[in-house]
Subunit: 246 residues, 2 copies
DNA sequence: CCAAAAGTGTTCTACCTACACCCATGG
DNA sequence: CCATGGGTGTAGGTAGAACACTTTTGG
């Protein structure tokens, strides 16, 4: 790691959301020799835009390009990092001693949240300090390193707020999906249940969905219709915002 | 200036909004030996929270404490600063040569926007690199340094979006104000005109205003009633958001 | 007394809410 | 054949949009 090429005291953390089995999930890293987990993150090269460095982090962990990604907050409190943190990391051999100086700095971190299609992430890749990279349900999070739990919480709050402005469905769902699946996504993000029939009507009124003549077979009951997004109309609608919230 | 105590490559810029003569205004600094203007800003001490450093900047320029202040974006593109910028500053004698190294760094900056009551800012104070500190109307901005025009624009966009969540009236208006004044504020922020009667009804329906029996005399026409905010109810309403936008 | 701005009220419509009913499917 | 979930329709209430009239004030 060439720390001299990095912007000092600045890091990036990504909250990568996915949707699977009617649950919001987050891609997390299991730290080596530590029972806590961390958000995928990284440092910023001096001659790179911060946003593009976030794209790089995402690509490394998920293998995916062209992901919906949005900066949502800078976390800049002094006490967001315990001073003993770098000591512990060196002692456990997770980071080499020559990098201790780098990790001893005071760091501020830029939070990004990403929306990805769960099934497209084939092999989540851990980084140097972690042993695994896994999806974890938002409803049952493991213990997290430093202030990462707060960062995650803020990301979720932001997502909730921006639900009407952001292309949530398009990025989190596979190409074809059923109306109940889309509704489940909204209910998960909003943390409240919605009326089936009203949801359908309102969603259809946006005129951004295309009904296909395919059905999701295999369920034990009536086979629901599959929809896909009309990407052009979708993008136009996003521009003006999907007014009138949920 | 003790640059070694500052967090490297990190700065703060504040977009300070005020409302005067039915116009949104921004507090800007006129640079020395340069016909451009700049946002009030500063650097971050290593042992201080970024947010509290923004408070410090605000206090220095406006003399005010307890101001509504909100972080809205990190500007982290490489090309947001021209490499020649520090050269020019040194040549013009605006910054001493020994600080050139500091200003030669690649900088990212955290944008904050603040809402202040115009009349409470008695003597806006310039900093070392500026000769004046003045209110400038948002509708007619002077040429700005670096990417400050973009930062300002983004601040305005954010304010517009958050109009229903943020305590806009309470912070930008004096204690007593008329309904038309409040409406003018909303119209300015939103950049569109609103129906007088519908505005009044909706605003009153929030139940956050207290009608006083005072009137704004001196106008050439019917004297409007003065209102003030019911701060307790106001804060409660903010918590749940003033749903249903403008 | 008149122009201009402030206060008040009404109607129409659209959308959100809260429901009830029928249909398809697998066990 | 029936339980379960999916698709469709409808009535009532609320709130926003559009509008007209009256009142107060200074000149």
């Amino acid at each position: 790691m060439q720390t001299e090429n990095f912007h000092p005291g600045l890091s990036i953390d990504c909250v990568i959301f996915g949707f699977h089995e009617n649950e919001l999930k987050v891609l997390l890293l299991k730290l080596k020799k530590d029972d806590r987990w961390a958000l995928p993150g990284g440092f910023v090269e001096k001659d790179k835009d911060v946003d593009s460095e976030a794209v790089r982090v995402l690509k490394k962990r998920t293998g995916l390009d062209h992901i919906f990604l949005k900066q949502f907050h800078l976390f800049g409190d002094v006490d967001r990092i315990e001073p003993s943190h770098s000591d512990t990391m060196v002692k456990k051999g997770v980071i080499p001693p020559e990098l201790k100086g780098w990790f001893d700095q005071r760091f501020v971190t830029v939070g990004y949240y990403a929306l990805v299609e769960y099934s497209r992430v084939k092999a989540p890749t851990p980084d140097l300090t972690s042993e695994r990279c896994d999806w974890r349900p938002l409803s049952d999070l493991p213990p997290m390193m430093l202030d990462h739990a707060q960062i995650l919480k803020k990301a979720h709050q932001t997502l909730k707020k921006e639900l009407n402005d952001q292309p949530i469905g398009l990025n989190l769902l596979p190409e074809h999906f059923t109306m109940p699946e889309l509704q489940a996504l909204y209910e998960t993000v909003l943390e409240k249940s919605l009326d089936r029939r009203n949801f359908r009507r309102k969603m259809l009124s946006y005129d951004i969905l295309i009904q296909t003549d395919l059905q999701r077979k295999g369920g034990a009951h009536k086979a629901p219709l599959l929809y896909k997004f009309d990407k052009e109309k979708y993008n136009n609608a996003i521009l003006s915002g999907l007014q009138s919230g949920w």
